[in-house]
Symmetry: C2
Subunit: 451 residues, 2 copies
C-alpha cells in the first residue's frame, strides 16, 4: 500500500480547480445543449473497468439482437432479445418485493412450470418502463410481449421470460415492442451480447459483462454474463437485471441449486442505497452445447467456482456504476456470533448515510462506523470489537488504537477502493458486502424531475 502521491493529487486537484473555474466563468458551458444531441452523454463512472466492455466468449446455442423501439428513450436501442436453443436449462432468482412487477411474477410462474420436451427458450428485455404497479393492464402487456415472441420463434409461451426496467407506474406501451419482434428475430446473432448489454441500460454509465471458462471432460465449458443496474437498487430507473449464459450440460434442478447457493455472497451482498427494486431479475441459461460431458464431480466444483466469479464480477460492476459513486467499498465483518448478526452489522455500515457521506468526503470518520455497529441490532461488545481501514488498526478494546494516526486514515481514504474491516471478537461468523459512497451526484440524479 504505497504512500500517497501528494504531487499527483495536487496536480489532479489543479485540473479540477481549472474546470470548476471555467464553469463558473461560462455557465452556458454547463448546459452543453447547443452543441450536443438532445440528451448529453452521461459521464462514465470513475470506477468503471479501465479496459471497457470485456471480450466475452460465444456461447453455443445463444443468440442476441437489439432494436430501437422507442419505449421511452429515443435514438438508442432499448429492447433486446435472446434466443436459447432447444434443451436449454433455465434457473432464476428474483426480487422479494411484495410489489414486484408483472414480468417478475410471470418469470417465477414459468420457472415453476414443467418444461415441454426439447423446447427452446427466449428472454426479452426492455428499458425505459418497468411495467411495475400497472395492474391488470401490466399483466396483459407481459402476455402480449411474451406471447408475440413465442409465436415468432415457434416455442411455447411458458418458455419466454421477460424483464422491464425503467419508470414505475406508467402503462407499458407494449405495441411498440411487439411491432419490433419480427426485426428482433431477423437480426439474431451469436456475437451480439454487447448490444444486448447496451439495450437494457437506464441510469447505467457503462455496460457490464464478465466471463469464465472451465475445462470439462471432453472440452471447455464457457460462461458469459451481462448485467445492468446502478444500485440494489434504485427502483425508479436502476433495477438490476442480470443474464448469464453457459454451454454447460447440466440439469435445471442442479443449475437452480448452484445459482441459489451463490447469490447471497454476490448479488445479495451489494447495496448502493438500500432500496430494492420491484423488478430485480437474475436468469441463468445453460444450453448444454459444450462438447464437454455433463457437469459433475470435480468439474461441477470448478464450474461453480467459475460461476461464482462471474456473478461476483458482475455484482461489483453494478456497485462500480452506483449512482454518483466515486469509491468502491468492501465492508468485511468477522467474529460475529451468527450469520445474521454478521449480515446485520455489514449492511448497517454499508447503508449508513453518515458512513457513506464520510467516505465521499474522504474522511476517516470511524466514529460513524461505531455508531452503525451499535444501531444494527446485532450482538456487539464495545471492548471486544476492532475496526481497520485496510491494514490500519484504527480502534480496539473500546477505544482508539493509541498508535493510530489520523493522517494514516486520511491517506487511506484517498484511494478509489477501500476495505473497512470490523471484527466483533465474539464468534466465527462473517460476511462481506460491497457498497459505494453517497455523493451530491446521487442526489442530483435522483432529485431530478423525471423527464
Amino acid at each position: 500500500m504505497g504512500k500517497t502521491d501528494w504531487k499527483a493529487e495536487a496536480k489532479a486537484l489543479k485540473k479540477k480547480v481549472k474546470a470548476l473555474k471555467s464553469r463558473l466563468e461560462d455557465p452556458a458551458a454547463d448546459d452543453q445543449s447547443a452543441a450536443k444531441p438532445a440528451k448529453a452523454a452521461k459521464p462514465v463512472s470513475p470506477l468503471a473497468p479501465k479496459d471497457g466492455f470485456p471480450k466475452l466468449p460465444l456461447i453455443k446455442g445463444v443468440e442476441f439482437s437489439a432494436v430501437e423501439a422507442g419505449v421511452r428513450y429515443q435514438n438508442r436501442k432499448d429492447v433486446m432479445l435472446v434466443r436459447l436453443a432447444p434443451g436449454t436449462a433455465m434457473a432464476g432468482v428474483f426480487t422479494r418485493s411484495s410489489t414486484r412487477s408483472g414480468c417478475v411474477r410471470d418469470c417465477q410462474t414459468k420457472l415453476a412450470t414443467r418444461v415441454p420436451a426439447g423446447a427452446g427458450a427466449a428472454i426479452i428485455v426492455n428499458s425505459g418502463n418497468s411495467n411495475a404497479f400497472t395492474g391488470k393492464v401490466g399483466d396483459e402487456a407481459v402476455a402480449a410481449v411474451t406471447g408475440g415472441v413465442a409465436e415468432a420463434l415457434g416455442i411455447p409461451a411458458s418458455r419466454v421470460f421477460s424483464s422491464s426496467t425503467g419508470v414505475i407506474g406508467e402503462p407499458l406501451p407494449y405495441e411498440r415492442i411487439t411491432a419490433k419482434i419480427p426485426a428482433l428475430v431477423a437480426d439474431l446473432r451469436e456475437d451480439a451480447i454487447d448490444m444486448a448489454a447496451l439495450a437494457m441500460m437506464t441510469t447505467d454509465t457503462f455496460p457490464k459483462g464478465a466471463a469464465a471458462t472451465v475445462q470439462g471432460e471432453g472440452g471447455p465449458i464457457h460462461i458469459a454474463g451481462i448485467a445492468k443496474g446502478s444500485g440494489m437498487i434504485a427502483p425508479d430507473m436502476a433495477t438490476m437485471l442480470v443474464y448469464i449464459f453457459t454451454d454447460a450440460k447440466i440439469a435445471p434442478v442442479a443449475l437452480q441449486k448452484m445459482l441459489s447457493r451463490n447469490v447471497d455472497a454476490t448479488f445479495n451482498s451489494i447495496t448502493v442505497d438500500s432500496d430494492t427494486s420491484t423488478s430485480d431479475t437474475l436468469l441463468l441459461a445453460a444450453t448444454g452445447q459444450s462438447p464437454a460431458a455433463e457437469v459433475k464431480g470435480a468439474v461441477a466444483k470448478a464450474f461453480e467456482t467459475a460461476l461464482h466469479g462471474v456473478m461476483r464480477d458482475l455484482a461489483l460492476q453494478v456497485i462500480r456504476d452506483g449512482e454518483g459513486a466515486t469509491k468502491l467499498v468492501e465492508i468485511r465483518v468477522t467474529g460475529a456470533e451468527t450469520d445474521t448478526d454478521a449480515a446485520r452489522v455489514a449492511f448497517s455500515i454499508a447503508n449508513s448515510p453518515l458512513v457513506k457521506t464520510a467516505i465521499a468526503g474522504q474522511d476517516p470518520n470511524w466514529g460513524r462506523i461505531v455508531a452503525a455497529i451499535g444501531k444494527s441490532g446485532a450482538n456487539a461488545d464495545r471492548d471486544r470489537l476492532s475496526i481497520r481501514f485496510g491494514d490500519i488498526l484504527v480502534a480496539e478494546k473500546g477505544w482508539r488504537n493509541p498508535k493510530y494516526r489520523e493522517e494514516d486514515g486520511a491517506n487511506y481514504m484517498l484511494q478509489d477502493e477501500l476495505v473497512i474491516a470490523v471484527d466483533l471478537g465474539l464468534g466465527r461468523a462473517k460476511r462481506s458486502v460491497w457498497t459505494c459512497d453517497l455523493t451530491n451526484r446521487y442526489i442530483e440524479i435522483n432529485a431530478d424531475y423525471r423527464s
Copy 2:
C-alpha cells in the same frame, strides 16, 4: 529548502475545489464572506418555527446555567447545568445502541438506583464531544464530571445525570468541564432555560423548546422542554438530547410509565437518516413544586396529553432542523395487518433515499413509494393498497388512479409540509412517522472533513 510541500498544496487545493463548488451551487453565497466572522453562521433551517424560540414558563424547583468551557467549540457556550430541587422525580429513555456512550450507561444505572430520601438532582450536558467509544477513560470522565457536580451541589453522585454530544471516539477533555463547575453553580437561575438549549447545540440551526400548562387540583401544572438534534440521528454531531421539566407532583414510577408510553408515537417516530446515535437521551424531571395536588385521575389524563404534545412538538422541531431539510414530511400508514407491519412500511418509506431525494426535487414520484412498500417486508397486496399526497388520490387497485393528474401531484409537492398517506387495505393497524427530504446540503454537512 525550496521543495514544494505537495501535501500542503493538495490540502489548499481541496479547499479551493470545495469553495468553487459551493459558488457554483449558490453564486450569491459568496459575497457574504466579507461581512461575516471567520466561521460563517449556519443558515437557519427554512422549516424553523417562524416565531423563534418560544417563551417557556418557569418551572419551580428548576434552575439553569451555561458557560463557555471550550470542550471543542470556541466563543460559544458549550456546557449547561440544571439543578433540580430535593424531591424531584426522574424518568428517562435512551438509545438502544449496543455501542452507547458512557453517559448513557451511567444514566441508566442511576435511574435504576434507589433514590436517597429528599435528594435533589442535577443534569450536566456538554456539546462538541460525545465521549462515546472512549473506553475506560470515558467512564472515568463521566465519574469526574458527575462527581464534581455532586460535590459542588451537595447531592449524591447517583443523582447527577450527564450527556455528551459531538464527535465520537475522541477522549473527552473533561478537566475543561470540571474547571467550570464553580462558575456553573454560581450562575444558576430559574429563567435561563433558553441558554441551556443553546449550549447543547451541535449541527442544530436553531434551539428547540416547547411548553404546556394543565389545570391541576389547586393550581396550574407547567411543562417546559428543550431539545437538540438534527436527526434520529446523525451520530457524529447530531445526537438527540431532550430534557423536559415539570412542577407536577408525581411518583417516579408513574412518571416513567407515562414517558415510556408516549415515546413511540413521538421521538421514536422521527427519522432524518435512519442513523441512531450512541448518545440519544430523553430525561423528564418532575419537581413536585406546583401548588396543585398529586397528579391522578382526570388530571393525570390531561397531564399526559399535554406531555405528549410537548414531546411531539420537540420531536417535530428536530425534524424541522434535519440536516439539509427543506420539507417536513408525515408518512401516514393505515390499514396494516399488524402494528409491526405499519411501522415497517412507514419507516421503509421515510428512510428510502429515493423517496427522500424525489421530495427534495419536488417530484411526485409515487413509483418510489410503491417500491419502498414492496421492500419493507410487511404484508402488502398490490391490488388493495392506495397512495395519497395529502387529499389527492394517486394510486389504488394496483395502478394509477385514472383521474390523477401529474400537475396536481407536482403542485402539491411545492409545499413545505407534506403528508404521504398509504392505506394497505388489509387491517386496522396504523403508524405515522415524520421525516424530511434528502438534499445536497445533507451531503455537504456530512461529507465535510471534521474540523
